[in-house]
């Protein structure tokens, strides 16, 4: 099992969500986060005053899937989340040691 963590631009959420659900992924978590990478922040100028924005709003999506699925999911995310411009985000893939469904006690593959 692998955990896929995607950090991407906020307006891409719906598209990515649809694409991933179409692949049969059971569920996912979404969080609103702020961050910066090479994009850094930017300056907003309003009426002659400069406001520095350090962190940029992003969306983080997390899901745990079977190993065989990782490739197709990553491809789908790349296709939908990409705008070609800086700030598109990143995908991280982490190994998952164990998964347990709280309600039934099912483990690992049965739990995701």
């Amino acid at each position: 099992m692998k955990k896929i963590e995607i950090i991407m631009k906020p307006f891409k959420l719906e598209e990515v969500q649809e694409a991933v659900l179409e692949l049969g992924v059971g569920g996912m978590n979404v969080s609103e986060i702020k961050g910066f990478g090479r994009q850094k922040g930017h300056k907003e100028i309003y009426r002659g005053a400069e406001y520095v924005v350090d962190f940029v709003p992003k969306i983080k999506v997390e899901m745990v899937v079977h190993d065989e699925r990782v490739q197709t999911i990553v491809e789908a995310v790349m296709n939908t989340a990409r705008t070609g411009e800086i700030g598109d985000g990143k995908i991280f893939i982490l190994p998952v040691e164990k998964a347990i469904r709280i309600r039934t006690g099912e483990e690992d593959e049965d739990a995701i």
Partner: protein, 864 residues
């Protein structure tokens, strides 16, 4: 014996359930049920063989008292039975065991029994540690045993509590605060907790506890005996209590246990049981929940009112310095506004509005006698009030300057807002699902007003100083407040609530005497109050088109300011999730960008907006017969506003024809048109954009001895380039076709191939450049502007005309890792001017000062 007794009890309880379910299940049922338990407890204890306490045989006197809901006689079908066994520290171990055993069969009656043995001293010690023990003693009710022992117990407690009054009061208030913060969240709004939640039974308990502890009133029902509470709206509260108990009983029966949370499936079931039928505009469960919220809101408001008054008495604040001037006819009594002279009932109802305005202005509240009279007056004479312009003016003044939120809330509670805005009734107590709301729609509207006012006073300056800056610059602030009050009024109707609300606005505001311009402004704000939030979260803010479209939809900078503040207030009034930093940052970015577009004027002016629409429509009309509509629309989506505005209609058509015919394997399609009056050919092309495309195209033309007189470049989101070049015709008119064919091949090679073509062009050009003279070499200008646009860095170049200049320029610009998004280049007799809108290869503006310097120097180098 006990077993039979238990059976009897169970049987009677069943009867009670079945009998009352059809009728009420409210207070009457809970009292009856409590009584049933009383009798059983008494019987069990009497039959147990325990000597009747207080007789000669038993030295140890004790009293059994009920507490909690049992003590309050509010026992619901799933409630616990809590007992306190009070004694004087003379009970032997065996007596205790006997008592416990006597009560044991209660478990067989499927009652969750809880009991403790306590002396007065033990109880006092516990009370100091645990608030729940204190409140338990406040609900104590004698059930069996020695009344003297019971009374003595209470007396001792009372004495000590009186001494430590402040400490206990503080802890109670703290408890209340924690409740409010815990249960004020979204999930408890959607699925309310009937007992502990806001406006639930606990609110009534808190009131009762305070009344008992500090006001010397044994039962809340007696509160009106206290002169300070003579006008308290008690009967309505008691009615609401009955309603909640009824719901609680149904809930316990449905879930089979003590479930006090009205989960959504339960909402459906109970709505059905209580026969809330579906109506055209709302379903049964919706109507049920609305009714529930009526009661929850009412209890909540009652509790707020009660606590404010009680605290005024118990912990009176030092009196505020008397306000500078109180208007004639009014005075201040105990910090509240009251009428001079005769009672309100003898005066015109207009006085009510005047009083509210006065209290609002002074930021104080009204005396409760006045409130009571005002309610009555409005009930009978309210209708006449509405028609007078003076009254409307006073009502508007209240709404437009909502200094004291309690006064505005009061206006709602006494029915004033409903009177002037009958449509408001539709959103009273209306729960709203989704979007993180924590309040019913009517209260949310009032909160929005309050947020706006606070914002204007600088309450958000720490985190968002820009809010107040925008607020201060407004001219039509009134529109903002009006929109805040009625922005969600459409929720009381079916369909898109923003649109519906905008439709209703003229009716509402016309009635109140608002001018046409204001009506239009507020309508617009209401109709678009979700635009900024939706756009900022769902569209690419890095795309100029997003900001342009918002700017075009709004047109006027002040309307954008108003809409922005309305959106902000709406978010903060909704709840913490809707107004998170994250969401505010996105909103702010969109606002700033749209504002700049509006200020620059070009892309979003009224003319631009109309022009854009016309062009798009004309394009559709022309091409929809030749190409599938879906493809056409999709391609139009990829082209920016700039492109549409700056490109002549027939060129747009040419580009789109080329673009729609591009197969995935195509890299270049172009079309040649010879211009009539001059020796110029226009090359309209569509190509797959790649780094250096512009410079290579120019290179190809130059290579073929075609001078590039002008160029217009636009890149689409999907990676296509829509370019237009005007070049001088090939020198030899007889070999034109061949030359163009060759040019096409070379262009194709340039696009698909590598750097060899570059090298070839360089070689050829170098040979020629040596022999060329530069015209007008004094013209040399480079300007790099990062302020003109939020999306591009703008590079302006003017240079003396020279062969190959454009190629060089284009090449150097590209070589600096710049991505040309739009460009307009023009060459005349003397000079070449180019305006390039660029981004770096990552899609950002060029911010780095060092880099900008390098760009400027490089370009200067080329053009010198």
């Amino acid at each position: 014996m006990p077993r039979q007794r238990i059976q009897d009890f169970l049987h009677q309880r069943d009867l009670l359930k079945r009998r009352d379910a059809a009728q009420d299940f409210g207070v009457h049922t809970t009292r009856y049920y409590s009584a049933l338990v009383d009798h059983m407890v008494v019987d069990l204890l009497q039959e147990s063989g325990l000597a009747t306490p207080g007789t000669a045989e038993s030295q140890a006197a004790f009293a059994v008292a009920g507490t909690g809901s049992y003590g309050r006689q509010e026992l619901c079908f799933g409630s616990d039975v809590d007992l306190m066994i009070i004694h004087r520290n003379e009970l032997s171990e065996s007596t205790r065991k006997n008592i416990a055993q006597a009560l044991y069969p209660l478990w067989d009656a499927r009652l969750d029994l809880g009991y403790t043995f306590l002396t007065a001293e033990e109880c006092l010690d516990l009370m100091r540690e645990e608030l729940s023990v204190l409140t338990a003693t406040l609900d104590l009710r004698f059930v069996y045993g020695s009344r003297p022992v019971f009374r003595e117990f209470l007396r001792i407690l009372q004495e000590n509590v009186e001494k430590e009054r402040k400490g206990f009061l503080d802890r109670l208030l703290l408890y209340q605060e924690k409740r409010e913060s815990k249960y004020g969240k979204v999930d408890f709004f959607l699925e309310p907790e009937i007992k502990q939640g806001l406006g639930g039974l606990r609110d009534l308990h808190v009131m009762a506890w305070i009344a008992r502890l500090f006001l010397g009133v044994t039962r809340l029902g007696r509160i009106k005996q206290d002169p300070d509470f003579s006008h308290f709206n008690l009967s309505q509260l008691m009615y609401s209590k009955r309603f909640l108990l009824k719901i609680r009983n149904h809930l316990h029966l449905l879930s089979g246990r003590r479930e006090d949370r009205l989960l959504i499936p339960h909402q459906r079931d109970i709505a059905r049981i209580l026969e809330y039928r579906d109506r055209p505009y709302s379903t049964g469960p919706e109507r049920f929940m609305r009714n529930l919220y009526l009661h929850l809101n009412r209890i909540r408001y009652g509790r707020e009112e009660f606590l404010t008054k009680a605290l005024d008495i118990l912990v009176p604040l030092p009196p505020d310095p008397a306000p500078a001037r109180v208007s004639e006819g009014f005075s201040i009594h105990h910090g509240h506004l009251v009428l001079d002279g005769e009672s309100l009932l003898a005066k015109s109802p207009l006085v009510i509005l005047q009083a509210l305005n006065e209290a609002n202005r002074l930021d104080i509240f009204l005396g409760s006698g006045f409130i009571w009279e005002a309610r009555k007056k409005l009930l009978f004479e309210g209708k006449q009030l509405v028609d007078t312009p003076e009254a409307c003016g006073l009502f508007l003044r209240l709404i437009l300057h909502p200094r004291n939120p309690e006064i505005i809330r009061l206006a709602l509670e006494i029915g004033l807002i409903d009177l002037f805005i009958p449509e408001f009734r539709r959103i009273r107590n209306l729960a709203q699902f989704g979007y993180y709301h924590v309040e019913t729609v009517d209260l949310h509207a009032l909160s929005t007003l309050d947020v706006l006012y606070s914002l204007g006073k600088g309450a958000y300056n720490d985190r968002w100083p820009r809010f107040k800056a925008v607020y201060d610059s407004l001219k039509n602030r009134d529109w903002l407040y009006l929109a805040a009050l009625i922005h969600d009024i459409g929720k009381g109707y079916r369909g898109d609530h923003a649109k519906k609300g905008a439709q209703i606005v003229p009716r509402i505001l016309g009635r109140l005497g608002v001018q046409d311009e204001g009506i239009r402004g507020v309508s617009f704000l209401v109709e678009n109050h979700l635009l900024l939030v939706n756009t900022s979260q769902k569209r690419d803010l890095n795309d100029e088109k997003t900001a342009v479209q918002v700017a075009q939809a709004i047109q006027r900078p002040e309307l954008l300011d108003l809409l922005f503040l309305l959106t902000v207030a709406d978010c903060f009034a909704t709840g913490p999730t809707a107004s998170s930093d994250w969401k505010m940052m996105l909103l702010m970015e969109l606002f700033t960008k749209a504002k700049h577009i509006l200020e620059l004027g070009r892309l979003a002016s009224a003319d631009a907006t109309t022009g854009l629409r016309q062009k798009k429509r004309a394009l559709q009309r022309k091409l929809v017969r030749e190409f599938p509509k879906k493809d056409l629309l999709s391609l139009m989506e990829q082209a920016s506003t700039r492109y549409f505005l700056n490109t002549p209609q027939e060129d747009i058509e040419r580009h789109f024809r080329l673009g729609l015919r591009m197969a995935p394997s195509d890299s270049l399609r172009w079309r040649l048109n010879k211009l009539d009056s001059v020796d110029v050919t226009q090359v309209t092309l569509c190509a797959r954009d790649r780094p250096g495309l512009f410079s290579r195209m120019v290179g190809v033309f130059t290579l073929n001895n075609m001078q590039v007189l002008s160029a217009r470049i636009a890149t689409l989101k999907n990676g296509l380039a829509f370019d237009i070049y005007r070049v001088t015709n090939p020198v030899d008119p007889f070999r034109e076709t061949e030359v163009w064919k060759k040019a096409y091949e070379e262009a194709l090679e340039a696009i698909t191939g590598g750097d060899e073509i570059d090298a070839r062009i360089e070689k050829r050009l170098l040979r020629r450049l040596e022999s060329t003279r530069m015209h007008a070499d004094w013209i040399r200008k480079v300007r790099i502007d990062n302020d003109a646009s939020d999306f591009f860095t703008c590079i302006e170049v003017s240079a003396g005309k020279r062969l190959g200049l454009l190629f060089r320029l284009a090449k150097e610009v590209f070589a600096l890792d710049l991505n040309i998004r739009f460009a307009t280049v023009y060459t005349d007799q003397e000079k070449t001017t180019g305006v390039f809108h660029v981004r770096d290869t990552r899609g950002q503006k060029i911010h780095d000062k060092a880099r900008i310097r390098v760009i400027r120097e490089t370009i200067l180098d080329v053009i010198s």
